[in-house]
């Protein structure tokens, strides 16, 4: 009991939320966390919607861990970890898309690619003469340790990913909802699969460095899963997914300012609470 009291920080919470926000934004690190958190939440909300309807949450999880091998490899040859991350997540995404063409068989291919990549990561870490915490710290990116350069990089990457999603939107949705009909209409399932995997790969690579593996994975899957239970219509679903993702990120950051536990815990818990709440809504007949 005493311990839990001691952990509550001395900064006072008032019901004047605007005042509270102003006081936390005095700190550059809180500003950066809100900025980067907002961008990542929007991107994750949009991309995550397709992750969920394409049943790719395992792939999203796998890609964020494949990034670990890439970061370790980059550390080994002494280049910026982001290149390793991008190379490995893209390579892993391509392999997963190419090996598991249809959604039904994808599960196993993702598992095998993930296992191989993790093995490579362990090898790179042991070959790397340095202190491995560096590579590990990537896995747990610091949402409170974001510099203003990081925010700009995230912003540019986020805009590019949203533009790409917008351009692919119709075909992506079509192949996600009904692979066979889409194929009959002449849309390349493999092509779309590869495009989308690359999209997740880039999104996770950028977000890992900023918010860490846990948060990007949580924001990609949970809000979209909740949104899907609220609305069966794609555009509504995407909008709701973005809103949930934004709200939980902000709530998580807000609460963590007053209660000194890791931010990711609060964000993930808020997202899970929203998801549980949507489970209470009786599931309507699926519409498309």
């Amino acid at each position: 009991m005493l311990r839990s009291l001691a952990v509550i920080s001395n900064t006072a919470f008032s019901w004047n939320i605007a005042q509270d926000l102003r006081s936390m934004w005095q700190y550059a690190f809180m500003q950066h966390a809100f900025e980067a958190g907002t961008i990542v939440a929007i991107v994750a909300g949009v991309v995550g919607y397709f992750v969920v309807i394409r049943r790719l949450s395992f792939a999203a999880h796998a890609l964020s861990h494949v990034g670990f091998a890439g970061a370790a490899g980059a550390a080994l040859i002494g280049v910026n970890p982001i290149y390793g991350l991008l190379a490995f997540t893209s390579g892993g995404g391509l392999a997963m898309a190419a090996l598991g063409r249809k959604a039904a068989s994808r599960d196993v291919q993702i598992g095998t690619v993930l296992a191989f990549m993790l093995g490579l990561g362990v090898l790179f870490i042991s070959l790397y003469k340095g202190y491995a915490t560096e590579a590990y710290s990537l896995l747990f990116g610091e949402i409170l340790g974001i510099s203003s350069t990081d925010v700009y990089i995230t912003l540019i990457a986020g805009i590019l990913i949203l533009i790409a999603t917008l351009l692919l939107y119709r075909r992506l949705l079509f192949t996600s909802l009904d692979e066979d009909v889409a194929e009959a209409r002449g849309i390349s399932i493999l092509g779309m699969s590869i495009c989308f995997m690359l999209l997740i790969a880039v999104a996770t690579s950028i977000a890992i460095q900023v918010v860490g593996v846990l948060l990007i994975f949580a924001l990609m899957v949970t809000p979209a899963a909740a949104a899907q239970r609220i609305s069966g219509r794609p555009l509504q679903g995407i909008t709701i997914s973005v809103i949930i993702s934004l709200v939980v990120s902000w709530i998580g950051l807000f609460v963590s300012y007053y209660v000194a536990y890791p931010v990711s815990f609060f964000i993930v818990s808020a997202a899970f609470a929203v998801y549980l709440a949507t489970r209470l809504i009786p599931q309507r007949a699926a519409r498309s």
Binding site: T133, L144, I146, L235
Partner: protein, 310 residues
């Protein structure tokens, strides 16, 4: 899906993105430096450096050490806002560096400040990422860092120069106790073969003239939470079984099934075992008392298994 709705949705996204942009242009207050009671605010990433700083700073400083739990693995720390805020508002931040606390580097770069003094121990010692980061186990490095802390404090508060210098002298005298004990071990047990489960013992073995024979591939892998190569495990086991090793030092904070096996093996071969920790244990004791206790244990264990050379 009509195009209108799609445009509407993308509109929302762009608007939100613009709000994000608005953040950028909003007044970027420099992080406030709060000085309750006018005392210098010092943040140390780990409590061994924090303990030294608080002894030099005395009543003129307030020290917050972030990693203080001797039962947790310091390699697996996740930051919270209280720590980030402490770093943002500190006048003086001490970090170990060399990848040991890369989270602290991130927290520093997230809260840029032109007035904050930062002491990166690794760069002071000319070490880089990849070097063994357990610098506080080398008496030579500890003295160097202690002196630098004094210099930094004087730079921050020149008015208190004589006060800080007085405290520094007292601290140096107090540090002598454990450092003399290390010299004593060197005098009597130089060249004795010892083993360690983790590379935490490297600098201390060097300072005390002990011959650390355990395979580096093993100790490094344990420090990094990795699997040691099978060959290094075999070598380690042979060293313990053949009786050539007179002491096993194990890191109480990075315990794995493999290091426990080595402990058991040492036990069955009547090799004395001494545990050392990364972080001050118990947390409310001073750096030098903690070190002294560990070194007494090492000396006692050596006395048990080796004949003292005159």
């Amino acid at each position: 899906m009509n195009k209108l709705k799609m445009a509407w949705a993308s509109g929302i996204i762009i608007v939100v993105a613009l709000i994000v942009f608005a953040f950028f242009t909003s007044t970027h207050n420099n992080t406030p430096t709060v000085n309750p009671n006018g005392r210098l605010q010092i943040v140390a990433a780990e409590n061994f450096w924090g303990s030294l700083a608080s002894q030099i700073g005395g009543s003129q400083v307030q020290v917050k050490s972030i990693i203080t739990d001797p039962n947790a693995d310091p390699h697996e720390y996740e930051s919270n806002t209280a720590d980030a805020r402490a770093i943002a508002t500190a006048n003086f931040v001490i970090i170990n560096g060399a990848g040991y606390d890369s989270w602290a580097n991130k927290l520093l770069s997230a809260s840029p400040s032109s007035t904050r003094q930062v002491l990166d121990v690794a760069s002071l010692l000319g070490k880089k990422n990849g070097d063994n980061p357990h610098f506080w186990y080398s008496p030579m490095y500890v003295n160097k860092v202690t002196y630098q802390i004094l210099q930094d404090l004087i730079r921050l508060e020149p008015n208190n120069k004589s006060y800080f210098s007085g405290n520094y002298q007292k601290l140096m005298t107090s540090l002598k106790t454990y450092q003399n004990r290390i010299a004593d071990i060197k005098r009597h047990f130089s060249g004795v073969k010892v083993a360690a489960t983790e590379d935490i013992f490297y600098y201390l073995a060097q300072a005390s003239g002990l011959n650390l024979v355990s395979p580096p591939a093993f100790t490094e892998a344990v420090a990094e939470g990795n699997d040691p190569p099978a060959g290094s495990v075999v070598t380690f086991e042979q060293q313990l079984e053949s009786g050539q090793v007179k002491l096993l030092v194990y890191n109480t904070q990075t315990v794995t099934p493999l290091t426990s096996n080595m402990k058991d093996l040492a036990l069955t071969n009547n090799i004395p075992i001494v545990g050392v920790s990364e972080i001050i244990e118990p947390p409310n004791t001073s750096f030098q008392n903690w070190m002294n206790g560990e070194i007494i244990n090492i000396e006692n264990a050596l006395n048990m298994s080796v004949k003292r050379s005159p």
